[in-house]
């Protein structure tokens, strides 16, 4: 599974962090950082993160 966040669209809401903290984090500068190839076992959490992103900036491939 590949995760892509469109960083031009992302506004650092951090909603994705609540759903999948293993994959998405807000760093000290308040910006989103994420794991681009998370483990398959996290699929449900990543799907949920993509659903709850207010800007729908997260795409999942594979």
């Amino acid at each position: 599974m590949k995760v892509i966040v469109d960083m031009d669209v992302c506004k650092d809401h951090g909603q994705c962090v609540f759903s999948a903290p293993e994959v998405f984090q807000i760093n000290e500068n308040g910006r989103l950082v994420y794991e681009a190839e998370p483990d398959e076992s996290l699929r449900d959490a990543v799907e949920e993160a993509a659903d709850v992103c207010p800007l729908q900036a997260i795409t999942i491939e594979g």
Binding site: K11, D12, H13, V17, F18, V52
Partner: protein, 396 residues
């Protein structure tokens, strides 16, 4: 025979319901009927990012997951009536659709001001077409009159100002976003808008719109007259429930549901999203509608399970529906976030971190307990407060 579920309303709530029905194992037919001509799209940018740049369906459309690939979308046609006893709905083109299960997802429409005057030049913001029409009129120097100081009014004011328009906000309250924020934070929000050049005329309403062919201004309740090239009415919303009339339901404010999101007393009929009025045992069990973006997703999860159990296709939900309300609003470079139910704690409001004119965390308490939090900025603290509110016991 294959079972059929009809989803009335093809926006976020309808889409999430379809996804959740499939995720919960429903293999029958799903027909989603929507009166808008578009596949489901995301509304919040319509008063923010999209209004500030360009409003296209392509940029706002929700991604359609593979699980909903076989949903039949009937778009551009409304559901005009339902006969719940006979399990059938009628569409605007005369089609009768029989259904085993029904999902009510028809949401809200903007309330219009019942005052005299020309219609041209008056806008609301709910749909793509609304936002596109308003966008076309927002140019540097135009006089924009925003009526209503709720979150949509405040966001439109901020976006219009950013685009160089001169902006006046008229509203009956004494501060913007008064209800959810309380007086102190509302006043601080007003100062932030004023610093950026927005004028507030509060404690007033509009008595009439002026102009012949098109709006040129407004007369206020105190007799004052204002010039306006563009008017935006952001004065609340009305539930789209007329099509459910004649079934003996409580439609006084959305559609009344039980704690499983079943339409009161109607097995096999559930409601999701803005239109659902449901009790939240996390607070006091009083049924309320919640117009937050997180609600279509939360309600769909629970309602899909309830519906399939009613159809004999699964177990009922494990517990009552008790979501933590979550809301955000963007105005200029300010990110406002709200968790829990600030309105329930409006008699005991405390600044928890920061200060009202900078980044701030405000706590709302009931009987000394934290029931809601609003943050301006302070993004890194959001998770902590959200977790604290989530840990609070849910009374059964």
């Amino acid at each position: 025979m294959t079972q059929r579920i009809v989803i009335a309303g093809a926006s976020m709530g309808g889409l999430r319901a379809a996804e959740r029905l499939r995720a919960a194992g429903f293999t029958g037919e799903i027909v989603a009927v929507g009166d808008e001509p578009h596949l489901p799209y995301n509304r919040p940018p319509l008063s923010k990012e999209a209004l500030a740049s360009e409003v296209t369906h392509e940029a706002l459309a929700f991604r359609l997951r593979p699980v909903v690939a076989d949903v039949a979308w009937r778009l551009g046609v409304p559901v005009v009536s339902a006969d719940l006893a006979a399990r059938a709905v009628r569409l605007g083109d005369g089609t009768e659709l029989a259904c085993d299960g029904l999902v009510v997802a028809t949401g809200m429409r903007p309330r219009r001001l019942p005052v005299p005057g020309p219609a041209a030049g008056r806008h609301v913001v709910r749909t793509l077409e609304d936002a596109r029409a308003l966008r076309a009129e927002l140019r540097p120097g135009v006089n924009v009159l925003v009526i209503g100081a709720g979150f949509i009014g405040c966001e439109v004011a901020a976006t219009a100002r950013t685009l160089g328009a001169s902006v006046t906000v008229v509203a009956p309250e004494d501060a913007p976003m008064r209800r959810p924020l309380g007086a102190g934070l509302g006043a601080a929000l007003r100062r932030r808008h004023e610093e950026r050049g927005v004028t507030f005329l509060l404690g007033r309403t509009v008595r009439a719109f002026l102009g012949e062919e098109r709006v040129t201004g407004a007369e206020l309740s105190d007799g004052a007259r204002l010039d306006a090239d563009v008017v935006v009415e952001a004065v609340g919303s009305v539930a789209n429930t007329e099509w459910l009339e004649g079934n003996g339901l409580d439609l006084s404010d959305g559609v009344l549901c039980d704690e499983a999101l079943r339409v009161e007393g109607r097995p096999g009929v559930v409601a999701v999203g803005d239109v659902a009025r449901f009790p939240n045992p996390r607070y006091d069990g009083v049924p309320r509608r919640v117009e937050h973006w997180s609600i279509p997703t939360d309600t769909a999860k629970h309602a899909a399970v309830t519906l399939l159990a009613d159809l004999g296709l699964g177990d009922p939900p494990a517990g009552p529906f008790a979501p933590l309300p979550t809301f955000w609003s963007d105005q200029y470079d300010l990110r406002l976030q709200s968790f829990g139910a600030p309105v329930l704690g409006e008699d005991d409001i405390r600044v928890l971190e920061g200060d009202l004119d900078g980044e701030v965390v405000v706590g709302y308490h009931r009987d000394g307990e934290l029931v809601g939090v609003v943050l301006i900025g302070m993004a890194s603290a959001a998770g902590r407060y959200r977790a604290a509110l989530n840990r609070a016991p849910v009374a059964a």
